[in-house]
């Protein structure tokens, strides 16, 4: 799965339709997203200066991205000064090769891993396996996913699609193959399941010689890396092994130590709705006799510089992976994370994946349509990424083609073939429009559309509008606008009507 496309994934609409029919999945998702969403609103309300923190977070990230070369070089100096080694990887293959070589140099054939989106994105576990190295995921949810030979479906709660009965069955059936078997008579209470995981993984932590992690932030000024987590598996992987390898996207750098004061307030409240997550680890290079004596940082591009080259799309690189946008998204709630065919699901996945990977495949071409454009994702985003704006921009490019950067080179993209994109759009829309409540926030799109004031509709509507004059778009509920501009009164509100 180099490049991170899940092999054999159908495009978003097909996958989403299947998922929507799965009632267990939908019940789990609904419970989960609503629970986190409500708690998050309370956690955010505790901070009277939330809007200022959000704006500061946006400004820090924008500033960093605009001088990314300078901050990466500074980071490299700081990390090396503190006793670490820095490696640079253009793509997944290069990153995997670097990590595999580093592991092999230690003589070990096992590594413990703390959950990391970057290593999922590059398919590190599979690449290591091909080299005869076994990577153990140690986050409880990742363990569930790994034992179930499954894919994660949520940034924060990767096994959100599994209920406790399923988890018990997976543990009973699979644990023995990977190490310590599940205790006899394991029931499906969360306490017992967590205890089984604790025993199973502890064995691995205590003997591990190599740990692999990602990072939430890297501080250029000091060379400090930050990992935010709950369970302690992160601390285990970061401190017990002799060698630590961190694979981190280049966009995770922030200029200064004080910048952490913004993100350590906004990230936990946005993601797990906590005032602070149970554990945060910060380390700078290596420390004498405390923690690993070798530290390697692999800086990963893998499409990030291509994303950076896009003036509208580059804001996606501000993302701090809090997953708040997933929990408010009506499309995600119904379709689940797997439908996105990407390690980055939900609204952020819909704009990040097609930029990191290009829009060449059906799944990537359909992702910018995996949204109702209701704007809820923008409202919750702690770094104010205007996801609807980027979606509209990407849709336009899927349909019309246009200039983009791929692998560091400027290329002209051809318009997507046939009406595949249009069909994708209509079906994705159908998911949201089948549920009226999802559209209550529609005014945002109406005003946005007014601002864009398109002579032609963006996205697949363009073919339709090419032969008609678009009326001036008034501020009105989006659904009315949609039905009117769709013209035939059927409004494309059900999948069956989708063209």
């Amino acid at each position: 799965m180099s490049g991170g496309t899940f092999v054999g994934m159908p495009a978003f609409p097909a996958a989403a339709r299947e998922a929507v029919g799965d009632t267990t999945l939908r019940a789990n998702l609904r419970h989960a997203t609503h629970t986190i969403r409500n708690k998050r609103a309370r956690a955010v309300a505790e901070l009277s200066d939330w809007d200022l923190l959000r704006e500061a977070g946006k400004q820090i990230k924008d500033h960093t991205l605009r001088h990314l070369d300078r901050y990466l070089v500074q980071l490299e100096e700081s990390v090396e000064r503190a006793g670490g080694t820095v490696h640079w990887a253009c793509d997944a293959e290069e990153a995997n090769r670097i990590v595999a070589d580093l592991v092999r140099a230690t003589g070990e054939t096992e590594v413990v891993k703390v959950k990391s989106m970057a290593t999922q994105e590059i398919g590190l576990n599979e690449a290591l396996e091909a080299e005869g190295i076994r990577a153990y995921e140690t986050d409880l949810a990742e363990l569930i996913v790994q034992l179930g030979r499954d894919r994660p479906s949520h940034i924060l709660v990767p096994a959100i699609h599994r209920n406790r009965g399923e988890i018990r069955d997976i543990f009973r059936k699979e644990m023995a193959d990977w190490g310590r078997p599940a205790p006899d008579g394991l029931t499906d209470t969360p306490t017992e399941l967590a205890e089984a995981a604790r025993l199973h993984l502890r064995e691995k932590f205590l003997r591990a010689k190599v740990g692999i992690s990602g990072a939430n932030f890297m501080v250029a000024e000091t060379g400090t890396l930050v990992v935010v987590e709950s369970e302690g598996n992160g601390r285990m992987c970061l401190t017990l092994p002799e060698t630590l390898i961190s694979v981190v996207g280049i966009e995770k750098v922030v200029p200064g130590w004080r910048d952490l004061e913004v993100f350590l307030q906004t990230l936990p409240r946005s993601s797990t709705a906590e005032r602070m997550n149970p554990y945060t680890s910060m380390w700078t290079g290596t420390t004498d006799q405390d923690g690993p004596n070798a530290f390697h940082l692999v800086l990963l591009d893998n499409g990030r510089t291509d994303t950076l080259a896009d003036e509208v799309g580059r804001q996606a690189l501000r993302c701090i992976r809090c997953s708040a946008c997933l929990n408010v998204c009506p499309v995600y709630e119904r379709a689940g994370g797997h439908a996105y065919g990407s390690v980055y699901p939900g609204p952020i996945g819909a704009i990040l994946s097609p930029q990191l990977r290009g829009t060449g495949s059906d799944i990537d071409a359909s992702l910018p349509y995996a949204s109702s454009l209701c704007g809820a994702c923008y409202e919750v985003c702690p770094v104010a990424i205007d996801i609807p704006e980027v979606l509209v921009h990407l849709r336009e490019r899927v349909v019309q083609g246009g200039e983009a950067t791929r692998g560091g080179n400027r290329v002209m993209l051809k318009p997507a073939k046939g009406h595949a994109a249009e069909r994708a759009a209509m079906r994705a829309a159908g998911l949201a429009f089948a549920r009226p409540g999802a559209l209550r926030a529609g005014q945002r799109l109406a005003s946005r559309t007014r601002r864009l004031h398109p002579r032609t509709l963006p996205g697949p509507g363009r073919a339709w509008s090419a032969s008609r004059d678009l009326p001036e778009v008034p501020v009105e509920p989006f659904r009315d606008w949609w039905q009117r501009t769709r013209g035939d009164g059927s409004g494309g509100t059900t999948e069956g009507n989708a063209q």
Binding site: R66, D69, P190, F205, M276, W283
Partner: protein, 215 residues
Amino acid sequence: MSGRDRVLGRVRRALADVPADDLAYETAVDRGYAREHGGRTVEETVDLLAENLADYRAIVHRCTEDEVSDLLMRLYAERGSETVLVPPELPPHWLAAADPVRIHDRAVSTPHQLDRVDSVITGCALAIAETGTIVLDGSPDQGRRRITLVPDHHVCVVRVPGQVVASVPQALERLAPLRPLTWISGPSATSDIELDRVEGVHGPRTLEVVLMSGA
């Protein structure tokens, strides 16, 4: 060309549209956000710390410096701890009355040996009231990072009010970035199974925080 040159080259080409006179770091970010939330007296800040720690299921105790050794003795006895890990420069009088066998934090101890210890006792670098967080920085009264991770029971003594700050920004101002830092807010927890919070997957399942005021 090295990976480094290629990545940096791509970054520079991608940023070709950025105007040269862009704002410097010092002026690029509006730092108008709060340094702390709400005005509180010193006492109220300590109360808030206690409240937020308890809210995240840490067990909070209060005592004076004179009472700390009796309190610790009682905590270990209640739990039946027979061994306790001790950082190199823990104030000796804290454990003056405690029964458990002291195990010293030594570089040569293996993780398996640490795993057999019942409890650990440490001081801290500071504690953050608004978030209910204690921060360890590896100072001699706290020891190596792993000693507060492997045993199942962690007792942490916070000197109040001296070590208490109100907020995250105030905490970062007082911490040294080059030290390894561990921020702890409540015991290890997971919500991965149907979002039910379960204490303790890998870290200590019991966190007891002693708020110790001067004698």
